[in-house]
């Protein structure tokens, strides 16, 4: 259980995170969705104890994130590729593993598991500098899982990744969920949030604007499903809530119907409705 209570963080004049409160249940994937500069990374930094909050509190199953006990349970996948490019994949992993108190007998099997998990077993002895962007991202994930953390914080893990690596990463996230991990996943891709997350928080300008399951958010803030009919009478749109006589009349009046499309609301629409802006510029 991750409990976050009215977190605040300012950088000079910028109020990067304001009064953010969350509750994330064990085994859930929580998506933090917001555009660039919304305060996603800053929130993660406070939740993992990287930086101190100006006010508010974070509890990881009752532990402060700065405590040693909590640190053994935190897996942080930084937004940047936080690896030593000139070292091999194995060297990187064994170094990061050495920072945790992993018993020697388990060390090798943990490293093998992590490499296998992200599909880099056959590149274990290659230097990271020769890896593609997607491979680096996957190793970036593997390096955070060696100590088998309970709370996994993924900060835009798919940035700059080709569709194949992206799908592999999605699988990884879902597998981790199956292993019972609690996952916080930040992104500005609404498809990712929609696909992976049990709960989504929408953040902009440091403020948490909405919180709930994808379905809840869609129904609360997504607006209506729009049905548009393109016929010899022109293109007309109908809200799903008043699909009654108007729609039927329209269909009857048309001699030829070229196309009928249904536009369900998505998180993009939720964001648009909440902020009046597009999620991505």
């Amino acid at each position: 259980m991750i409990q976050v209570e009215s977190l605040n963080k300012r950088f000079g004049n910028i109020h990067a995170v304001r009064d953010v409160s969350l509750e994330i249940h064990p085994g859930q994937i929580f998506g933090l969705l917001g555009p660039n500069g919304a305060g996603k990374s800053t929130s993660i930094s406070m939740m993992t104890g990287l930086i101190d909050a100006d006010s508010g509190s974070v509890s990881l199953s009752g532990l402060k994130p700065q405590s040693k006990e909590a640190r053994h349970k935190i897996g942080l996948i930084p937004q940047s590729i936080a690896l030593y490019e000139e070292l091999t994949a194995t060297d990187n992993l064994s170094f990061f593993a050495s920072l945790y108190d992993i018993p020697k007998s388990q060390l090798q099997s943990r490293m093998d598991w992590a490499l296998d998990f992200v599909g880099l077993k056959d590149r274990a002895t290659d230097r990271v500098s020769g890896f593609s962007g997607g491979m680096k991202r996957r190793l970036n994930l593997a390096a955070s899982l060696l100590h088998d953390p309970d709370f996994i914080f993924m900060d835009e893990p798919t940035a700059g990744v080709d569709p194949q690596s992206r799908n592999k990463l999605f699988d990884n996230v879902l597998e981790l969920k199956e292993l019972g991990k609690t996952i916080i996943y930040t992104t500005h891709y609404m498809e990712e949030a929609q696909k992976l997350c049990d709960q989504v928080g929408i953040i902009d300008h440091g403020e948490l604007l909405a919180l709930g399951t994808v379905g809840e958010l869609l129904s609360q803030h997504g607006g209506d499903t729009l049905i548009s009919i393109s016929s010899d009478q022109g293109v007309k749109e109908f809200k799903s809530s008043d699909v009654s006589n108007d729609l039927i009349q329209e269909l009857q009046a048309s001699n030829k119907v070229y196309d009928i499309s249904v536009n369900r609301p998505d998180l993009e629409a939720v964001f648009l409705n909440l902020t009046g802006r597009q999620l991505r510029d």
Binding site: T48, L50, K68, P78, S80, I81, Y84, E86, D91, L99
Partner: protein
């Protein structure tokens, strides 16, 4: 501790992966020490290599001629001097040795078969046994000229025989038998010579070697202890300088690597791991320290086995540890000043180059003009060089070593404390 060592090992590994860093930390300093050492030690091994001061107290035709033959010899560069000047030159280590031709040199030079061989006083530092042997050999070779001259020039030979006959007759200390023998023999020699002489006749008068007139010269050694104001081996100067360049390489490399941990984001991994900030900083410091000790060890191994530099080992260890502490502290300080690799490299480079120039990493301290030596006191590089030189040629006592050592350690500790206070690890 295990985690600190893991941090350190990772940094050393990274250092070795960076070919440029390896070059500037390990190879360049060696090249520097080697090239400059060879340039400055132009006075060893080459022709006209041995600088000698010559004092002619005799001022006869023979002594002047002998001086000329020394001047013409391949192995010497000669300075004509008074006895005082000559001794001074040798004591200050400016010249390898002095030769004094005492009064009576010319007389003895002429008397081939009688009296004692002409004496040459050679003043040289007792530690220079190799040079002493070489000098003696060279002088002897020059001395044999007097025989050649005699035998290849009948007129001169006749003259010398006359001189010898006269000497024999006048002398009191030649036994009677010898006197009569020589009285018989020498005139016959004279006849023979006047008929015609070969130059390669072998004469032996037996007797003890000391006074054997058939010895070309009598070389008497005088000990002139060099007051060591400068080192004997030019590499003794350039090795500490090379060490400084290597240490600078380590400092810049580790300052950059610390900043890089932040810009890459690996520092974030370290911070969220169950290790303290103290451990993170200690790992960096230990890595930097170890790398420095490694380059010092490498350079001094080369210095010892290849360049023939001798040093006091415990004092070298003292110097290496003290300068290690100093430059680890400076590394932390520089790393705390800058946010990007470029700026940290720029700041560190600029500071160290300046300190290096002022502190004797390029121009040896002991040839600096006084005002510059005064300025150099503000450079940690100077004190590191002084400490290393103290272990090599300055012959520092432990008490004397303490001055540079304490200065270095103090600078290191202050810089380290400032650096660790100011450094913001979490800043991405």
């Amino acid at each position: 501790m295990k985690k600190i060592i893991a941090l350190m090992k990772k940094d050393i590994k990274l250092l070795f992966r960076d070919k440029m860093a390896v070059f500037f930390t390990f190879v360049f300093p060696l090249i520097f020490a080697f090239i400059f050492g060879s340039i400055f030690s132009g006075d060893s091994g080459g022709s006209k290599a041995l600088k000698v001061a010559v004092v002619d107290l005799d001022q006869t035709e023979q002594s002047l001629q002998f001086v000329k033959s020394i001047e013409e010899a391949d192995e010497f560069t000669v300075t004509l001097a008074t006895e005082e000047q000559a001794k001074d030159l040798v004591r200050r280590g400016k010249h390898v040795a002095y030769f004094i031709l005492p009064e009576g040199f010319g007389e003895d030079y002429k008397g081939i078969f009688t009296g004692s061989p002409p004496e040459v006083l050679v003043g040289i530092d007792p530690s220079r046994t190799a040079e002493a042997g070489y000098l003696e050999g060279s002088l002897m070779k020059l001395g044999t000229d007097r025989f050649e001259q005699a035998f290849s020039n009948p007129a001169a030979m006749t003259e010398r025989l006359d001189a010898s006959i006269a000497q024999v007759q006048e002398s009191d200390d030649i036994p009677a038998e010898w006197k009569s023998l020589l009285g018989d023999y020498l005139p016959k020699m004279k006849e023979l010579t006047q008929q015609e002489m070969g130059g390669d006749e072998d004469f032996s008068f037996g007797g003890d070697g000391e006074a054997n007139p058939m010895m070309p010269l009598k070389v008497t050694k005088q000990e002139e202890v060099v007051q060591r104001s400068g080192p004997k081996n030019a590499f003794s100067i350039t090795i500490p300088q090379g060490v400084i360049w290597a240490i600078m390489g380590c400092v810049i490399g580790f300052a950059i690597s610390l900043v890089q941990e932040k810009t890459l984001g690996t520092m974030n991994r370290l911070i969220v791991a169950p290790i303290s900030r103290t451990q993170i900083v200690a790992g960096k410091a230990l890595g930097c320290f170890t790398a420095q000790i490694a380059v010092v060890a490498l350079l001094f191994l080369v210095a010892y086995f290849i360049l023939g530099v001798r040093f006091n080992f415990p004092k070298l260890v003292l110097a290496a540890v003290a300068s290690g502490v100093c430059f680890v502290g400076l590394m932390m300080f520089f790393a705390s000043l800058a946010k990007t690799e470029r700026s940290v490299a720029g700041i560190t480079n600029a500071f160290l180059l300046m300190m290096g120039m002022v502190g004797g990493a390029m121009i040896p301290l002991f040839v600096m003009p006084g005002w510059m030596q005064a300025i150099s006191n503000f450079s940690p590089v100077k004190w590191a060089i002084v400490a290393f030189e103290g272990a090599i040629w300055r012959n520092f006592s432990y008490a004397e070593m303490m001055t540079p050592v304490l200065i270095l350690v103090s600078i290191g500790v202050v810089a380290f404390i400032l650096g660790t206070r100011m450094v913001k690890l979490e800043e991405a």
